[in-house]
Every structure is written in structure tokens, then in C-alpha cells.
Amino acid sequence: MNESIITVENLVKRYKDLIALDHFNLEVKEGEIFGLLGPNGSGKSTTINCILGLLKYDKGDIQVFGQKMKPDSYDLKANIGVIMQNVAVFKELTVYENVDYFCGLYIKDKALRKQYVNEAIDFVSLNDFRKFYPKKLSGGLLRRLNIACGIAHKPSLIFMDEPTVAVDPQSRNSILEGIQRLNKEGATIVYTSHYMEEVEQICTKIAIMDKGKNLAIGTADQLKAMIQNTETVHIETLNLSKEVENKLSGLSHLYKQSYNDRILKLYFNGGDNNLLSTLKILEDNHVRFGRVYSELPTLNDVFLEITGTELRDKEA
């Protein structure tokens, strides 16, 4: 099978009293787009910075390409591309100059570098902005420049720490497609985000983390299969009486229900006609309702079942 490119075993990282990573384990194999999914403060950036050798850690073992990462592991670093959570560019250099500068930390050959830089700028569609200084770029364009600076040297392992924050949906899609393209061309990618839709869309493997722990690992489908939820029914309705709520709780396969802010949510762990049977009860009791929809399990449901809190609630 595919070789493992990163292994993290029992990683513990403390910031003074705060335990940011608590016996964290991880294995990333060649060719994967590995998603680290977790709410703010769950330890995603800390994990990446430990792997990159930027952070000291208290305990555990990390191997990249089968070796321990040290400050002077320049051979290892040559194969790694990094897109940090914070935009890392020189504000006095133009788009082209920035990409060229950082690419120059890896690629010595001038002609080759020129080609790579142009390809990277193409990749993030910043061709019209080559001569722009970063402060003239919008937030989204700046993020794209940040990405170009990290991948221009065509690394075989790329870390992306929330690269799509503040990027509009259109550019986000083009970035996500780009990431998949990089992956097809052979790059292994470690991708962190708290947007589960994104992670679900591109990641071939996902680790769900919270409070410095790795809660579950698998493909999106595997993760969803781990939980009992098969369907969630959402119904918008005013003034639902306790009596009707009680009647609803008798539905078969229903394992949980909630009624908040005019939204009734019914959680099922099986069954085929859950929506129809629900609507029948409401009609029989003359309950008026608005929007109705049924949802297959999402990664949020996975997160909810494992941790008891919603991933969404914590989004910025």
C-alpha cells in the first residue's frame, strides 16, 4: 500500500497550563488529501507547527518522510510547502516578487524558477495582479497570493492551514479544485479547516479533532457510518404544542428531537419514510408548517455525536 509520509504518535504539547495537544495520533499516507477538521482552538495549527519543527513539544514522536524533522533538515524542507494560517508575504514586494522570493528559497535554477513562479501565479489566477503590492489586494486575493508563495516550488507534501478563510465562494471553489489538481499531480496534502463542507468535498481522509484530541479518523463516509444518525428532518413551525411533540416522539427510528427558534429537528437512526410519517402526524393535528427538509448525516452530525456540541456553533 501507500507509504506513510507523516506519523505522529502520542504527541503532547502544552502552552504553560493549557494542554493544546493531548496524546495526539496521526498518520498521513502518500497521495492523500488529509483533512484536519476541528473548531477554533482545537489544536490544528499547533499540530502542523509541531510537525514542521517550529514548535517544541513535550512528548511524543513525529516523523516526516520517515525522518525526524530538525531545524537543519533542509533536504526534508525542500519537499515541503507551507501555507500558514496568517498571510506571510512582504508588503514591500509585488505579487510576482513575493512568489519569486519564496520560491528562491527552494529553487536555485533561474529559468526553472521563473517557470514555476509563473505557473503558481496562474494557479491562483493572479495574472492580472502581478505588479500589485499586497496592500492593494483584497483579503481573498491576498490569501491566494499566500497560497502561491507556499506551493510555487512544487513540493510533494503541502500543509495548508485554513487557506480559504475570507475567500469568496467562487475563488474558494477554484482553490479547492486547484488543491485537487495538485494532489493529482502527486502532492500529498494536509488540510486544516473548520468548514466541514470543504473538508468533505476534497479530503480523501479526515481526522476530527477537538481539545487537542483526535476523535475519529476515516473517509467522510466511514465517519458518517460510525454514528447512528441516518437522517435529520427539519421543519419550520410556529407554536408547536407539547401534546404534538409527545406524539412525534412515538415515531419509529426517532432517537432525538428538539424544538428551538421555530425549528423542529427530528433525528432518525434508520427507516425509509421518516419525513412522510412526520408530516402525517402534523397534518392530523392541524399543525401549520413552513419550510421542510430532510438532511443526510453531515460531518457536523458526526462531531455532534462524538462531542455533544456543534461544530457549526463555533465557527467564526
Binding site: L55, K56, Y74, V82, N86, F90, E92, L93, G104
Partner: protein
């Protein structure tokens, strides 16, 4: 590789406007202010104008010898030393009080007595000339009595004495005002600490995102640091050259030191400044704003101690706490310029340069150990 890194760092430094302000624009403005404030004194020493004096003759003897002496005394350029007004004692005192004249000479019983209100360049000249006159009065008077035509020759030797006195200490420019300009050059080169600080900040993963990205790069850390360092030194070479050109050739200030020597000393100062900046930039726990404040504060204070605001500062410190003069970077820089200007041998200059060199080595090592870390407890 090195050139590539060098080129972009150079570009990024010269495009940083606030930095250019501190290392070039501010020194030029301050230099222009100094020039305007001290301009007159500067002109006087270059281009002598006759000194106005009031003379009161209260003598029963014949005073024509003295009067001739006063009006015939001339500089080499044939400018009379004095513009003499003969008057009464009362009017003379008023002239002095109103600063219409720089000295009041009362000629009584064959001897001139001088009254001045302030000490200064002109007062010194009057005093010196009169002292000479008194010393040689007998010679002059008897010569005058024998043959008045010979007197101009004697006067020439007398006035030569005065001129020699002004210049005999040095072949350089002894004007005290220069201390201000030396301190100014020192300040400009020490502002390199700002570039040094930026450099450290942008090299460290725990300080900046750029630092993180650079730390992840596949180029040896020392190569990157060295390229950064050389690029900022190059920026300072250019800005020093511009500043010195401005002082020497636009304001036409006689620094007493050649262009290249001034540039070399200024660059050695910039090395010290860069290292200090690297160290400031590596102090943990300080925000960027605090660091910049510390940086500007260090530069201004160091230059203040070297005489940027008061030309006498160094002498004052020499009397109270001489150690400061031996380690304060700005003082070392300005003293290096001073000693090149004033002393005809290189002893003092060499001592200065070697102290600077020693200080640089110490600072380079310190800053290297402070910036070289790559793995942090917290980012």
C-alpha cells in the same frame, strides 16, 4: 541564490518608507537645520569680515602709532581686521551695550584696555591682537618713530601671528560646530538598527508569519540571514553616500574628513547599528511597536550623548563618566571622524576604529546567538 535573496531584500528595504525617512530624510532635514542655525559662524571662519570695535583715545601722548596699527592690520586676503569707530567713552559703552561693536578699546597712557561683553570668536581675535600689540608695542612705536614707512612690514608679522594661532593646532577644520554634524552622521548610521530590527523580526518564526515561512524554507538559515544583513548594509551605504554628498557638496560643509573616509566610518557605524537592531528584534515578549520605540530611543539617546543637541556633551561626559564615551556607539563614530579631522597622526583614529570593530564583533556574536533559534515554545 545569495544574490536572489539579496536583491529582493534590498528592494523590500528601500521601499519601506518609514525606514528611509529615519535613515535618510530625517538626517538631511536635521543637517539642513544645523546648517541654517550655524551657517553664519561657518561663513565667518571661511570668509573673514572686519570686526567692529570702538576706540576711545584718552591719552596725552601721541596715539597715532596705535591708530595706524588698528587700521592697517589686514588678513592675507587684504580684509582689515577691524572696522574702527573713534568715539567718546560714553558713546563707546553704548555701542558695546547695543552690540554695534564687539569690543571697546580704551587707549590710555600708551596702553590699550579692552572691554568685551561676551566671549566669542571675535572677542578672542581682538584680545589676541591687543595682547600681541602690547607685547611688541615698544618695537612698533620705536619703529614708527624712526621710519613710519616700515610699519606695515612689522604689522604683517604681527597679524600673521594671529592667523597662525587660529590654525596651528591642526591642518583640519577646528570649528566646534562640526561636532553637531559628526553626531548627525553617527545618528544616521545608527538608524540602521531599524533595519536590523525588521530583519530579526522577519527572520523569526515566533515573531512573524514571514519568519515562519522563511524558517520552513530549504535554504540554510545563515545564508538567508547573511543576505538580509548585506542587503541592509548596502541600503545604508547608499543612504550614507547620499547624506555625506549632501553635507559636503550641497551644504558645502567642510567636515575635515574626505568623502570616502566619512563613508567608511559611517558604514562601520551601520554594522554596529544593525547588530543592535538584531538584538532588539530578538528580545522576547516585546510587541513590534515597543521594539521600534526602543530602537528609535536608543539611536537618538546615543547620538544625544555624542553631542547631537549640545556640542559640548562629550566633554561634559568625559568629566563625569568617561566610560560612556568609550562604549557609546554614536560617540565612537563621531570621535572617529573628529580624530581624522583634527589629529595629524592616526593613533586616536585607530584606537577608535578598533574599539568599534571590537564592539561589532561582540554585537554580531550576541545577535547571532539571539536570532539563530528556530524551534520555539510558542509561536
Amino acid at each position: 541564490m545569495f544574490l536572489h535573496l539579496f536583491k529582493y531584500r534590498f528592494l523590500s528595504f528601500v521601499r519601506e518608507k518609514s525606514m528611509i525617512f529615519w535613515i535618510l530624510v530625517f538626517p538631511i532635514i536635521l543637517g539642513t537645520c544645523f546648517y541654517l542655525a550655524f551657517g553664519k559662524i561657518n561663513e565667518k571662519s571661511e570668509n573673514f569680515t572686519s570686526i567692529p570695535v570702538a576706540v576711545v583715545m584718552e591719552t596725552k601722548e601721541d596715539g597715532t602709532a596705535f591708530q595706524d596699527f588698528m587700521s592697517n592690520l589686514k588678513t592675507k586676503e587684504d580684509t582689515p581686521f577691524f572696522k574702527v569707530t573713534y568715539t567718546t567713552r560714553k558713546k563707546g559703552e553704548k555701542l558695546l551695550k547695543d552690540k554695534k561693536v564687539d569690543g571697546l578699546i580704551l587707549y590710555k597712557d600708551g596702553t590699550p584696555h579692552l572691554t568685551i561683553t561676551e566671549s566669542g570668536y571675535n572677542a578672542t581675535i581682538i584680545k589676541t591682537v591687543l595682547e600681541r600689540y602690547i607685547q611688541s608695542a615698544e618695537v612698533v612705536i620705536s619703529a614708527y618713530k624712526k621710519n613710519p614707512a616700515k610699519v606695515p612690514g612689522i604689522l604683517e608679522t604681527l597679524s600673521e601671528g594671529v592667523e597662525i594661532k587660529e590654525n596651528k593646532l591642526t591642518s583640519g577644520n577646528p570649528d566646534n560646530i562640526l561636532e553637531y554634524f559628526y553626531a548627525l552622521i553617527a545618528m544616521a548610521s545608527l538608524f540602521s538598527s531599524l533595519t536590523g530590527r525588521t530583519l530579526a523580526w522577519q527572520a523569526k518564526a515566533n515573531k512573524s508569519a514571514v519568519g515562519m515561512r522563511k524558517t520552513c524554507g530549504a535554504t540554510h538559515r545563515l545564508t538567508v540571514l547573511l543576505a538580509d544583513f548585506c542587503a541592509s548594509l548596502f541600503v545604508h551605504a547608499i543612504s550614507s553616500a547620499l547624506l555625506v554628498t549632501y553635507l559636503l557638496f550641497v551644504l558645502k560643509i567642510n567636515l575635515g574628513v574626505s568623502f570616502l573616509a566619512t563613508l567608511a566610518i559611517s558604514l562601520s557605524g551601520a554594522v554596529i547599528g544593525l547588530c543592535v537592531g538584531l538584538i532588539i528584534g530578538s528580545i522576547p515578549g516585546l510587541s513590534e511597536g515597543t521594539q521600534i520605540g526602543l530602537n528609535v530611543g536608543f539611536t537618538l539617546f546615543s547620538s544625544f550623548l555624542s553631542g547631537l543637541m549640545m556640542g559640548d556633551m562629550k566633554r561634559f561626559i568625559e568629566a563625569s563618566c568617561p566610560l560612556i564615551n568609550h562604549i557609546n556607539p554614536a560617540t565612537l563614530i563621531s570621535n572617529a571622524l573628529y580624530s581624522l579631522n583634527i589629529y595629524d597622526n592616526y593613533d586616536r583614529f585607530l584606537i577608535n576604529i578598533f574599539t568599534m570593530l571590537g564592539l561589532s564583533v561582540f554585537l554580531i556574536i550576541t545577535s547571532y546567538f539571539m536570532t539563530r533559534r528556530e524551534t520555539y515554545d510558542s509561536l
